[in-house]
Amino acid sequence: MTALSVRDLTLALDGRDVLKGIGFDAAPGELIGVIGPNGAGKTTLLRALAGAIPHRAGNITLDGAPVTALAARERARRIAYLGQEEAPQWAISCENLVGLGRLPHRPSWQGESAADRAAVAAALMACDALQLADRPVNRLSGGERTRVLLARALAVESDFLLADEPTAGLDPAHALQVMEVLACRAAAGTGVIVTLHDLTNALRYCNRLILLNHGTLAAEGSPDAVLSPENLARIYGIRAHAGTAAGKPFLVPLMRTGDEDAAKGSRP
């Protein structure tokens, strides 16, 4: 059974502890949402899992073996990462950009194989971006670019996919589309770990949520349990309205708990 395990993960950036004793497991086929207020350590957690920054203490293991013991290539094949501020510098075609996701699979000094081309086409198709294949990436709209970058990460065809706020800056339709692609990928057997700010998306699409606060694990479990009114008040400092419409759950922030207290206090 393939599994990504995190134990007692502690990590400091610029001398400040950003993650403290984080631990959780991720299995194939799961869509795990990492949520928490700004500065909680969500992005840092994903970057550490992707191997972009070294951790100071604790373990990240893949099938029981520490990821640090894996060759960089092997790790790259097993865990794909979609960063938050990926901005392609060169005007390469979308097809070539998505093809970058195949780099960990290609032996040195060899061109694209048929499997590589098939994976690129499948990834573009999954993200509804096949018609963009020939377009230069610098001439895409925000929504188109997000889809193509997501396709790049999908093209790795990894066991685990890490996506850092893939819905940031997208209009509602595109955000829903991205969440559907991730859910679909999870259903196909990939372990997907995604950081989110939108609580409705977290509630609706994720199998499990991890709530971070000041670099510690504040709560973990089913979306309903993690997004309890107590947690929302304690961690986010908000009161929210949860409900269901057309069979789909939603969660709308109503007010900050500070405002509520102030409102109560001002009443005689």
């Binding site: 990462y81 390469i92 780099l103």
Partner: protein, 345 residues
């Protein structure tokens, strides 16, 4: 709909053939300009005669001129041009910045400072490898200083400012050496050397530079995939299995070895590393890794062509190679700045 798809397919096939033909086409052009270069010079030996001399079918004097003067000059043109084109493409790819170039970021001027130091102190006369070694050491110090000043993933502006700082520091020290030169003739010799030229070079220069250039090229050639991966930034490159620290070490060593040696034998020749990758980028679909080999060939072509141009009859002294590339490259750089101005921070 199907017509549109077929159109896209045709465009794609056209693009692939164009990219596949690029390297053979550049190689062919390089052979042509190389032969042309053998046929140019004050001795009035045409290139057919020169070709004959190359294969042992001409008079003693002709053979001497072609084999001992023109051939090493043409070969050095290829070596230096390929180095500058390749290093320019690698630096642009690594820094994700179309304005990077060995000359603009201070590598050439620090290599020149190192070489000038060996000339001034007389070490260059004491043992043969001193001049290229001086150039390489100067280049290494320049690149390391640039890294410290610009930091990791620094923006366009930081990089150019750091390059200006390194260039002006190296320039100040070079000026100091000129100032302290024992005689005006020694100073003039250094100035002419700094302008960059391939005139009066022999095979000794080729053998001096090659041992440094070849490992430098080899290091830069291994960067093709990491540079592609870096298209999406350092974190993504890392996640694709290319840790950026190793990439940077290879880039620094490769640039310093090859550009240091090139500067040591040919002086400072600017702008070539800026112009060549820029001209060829559209032909490789803007892929950073695929740009390396064509840039080396394109750099060699442009350098040999420029060296032919400076040998054409010209009133007064022979134009120095570095002066010509600066005269052509300067306006090109201005145009690039205008074109990228909207994207600069």
């Amino acid at each position: 709909m199907s017509a549109a798809l077929q159109g896209a397919g045709r465009r794609r096939i056209g693009r692939h053939t164009r990219q596949a033909l690029l390297l053979p086409a550049l190689a062919l052009v390089l052979v042509l300009v190389f032969v042309l270069s053998l046929g140019i010079g004050p001795a009035g030996i045409g290139f057919i005669e020169a070709l004959g001399a190359l294969f042992g079918g001409a008079g003693e004097a002709t053979r001497l001129i072609v084999l001992e003067l023109r051939l090493p000059r043409a070969i050095l043109g290829v070596l230096v041009g390929a180095t500058l084109g390749l290093a320019g493409a690698a630096l642009q790819g690594y820094l994700r910045n179309p304005l990077a170039e060995p000359g603009l970021i201070g590598v050439s001027s620090s290599a020149a400072l190192g070489a000038v130091l060996t000339l001034y102190t007389g070490i260059a006369a004491a043992f043969t490898l001193a001049l290229p070694l001086g150039g390489v050491i100067g280049a290494v110090i320049g690149v390391v200083l640039l890294q410290v000043l610009a930091g990791r993933g620094g923006g366009t502006l930081t990089l150019i400012l750091a390059g200006i700082a390194v260039t002006s520091m190296a320039g100040a020290l070079t000026a100091l050496i000129l100032n302290l030169a024992p005689s005006p003739f020694a100073a003039l010799e250094i100035v002419f050397w700094l302008m960059g030229s391939l005139a009066d070079r022999s095979f000794a220069h080729v053998w001096l530079a090659l041992p440094f250039m070849v490992p430098g090229w080899a290091l830069l050639a291994t960067l093709a995939r990491p540079l592609d991966a870096l298209t999406l930034g350092e974190d993504t490159a890392h996640s694709l299995g290319f840790p950026v620290t190793g990439v940077r070490a290879r880039l620094i060593a490769g640039t310093a070895l090859s550009v240091g040696a090139a500067t040591a034998v040919a002086g400072t020749i600017g702008f070539l590393g800026l112009v060549v990758p820029h001209l060829l980028r559209p032909f490789v679909g803007h892929r950073a890794g695929a740009l390396l080999a064509p840039s080396a060939l394109g750099g060699a072509i442009l350098m040999v062509l420029a060296d032919i141009a400076v040998r054409l009859p010209f009133p007064g002294n022979e134009l120095k190679l570095g002066v010509l590339t600066a005269l052509v490259g300067g306006p090109f750089f201005l145009w690039l700045i205008v074109a990228y101005r909207r994207r600069l921070p």
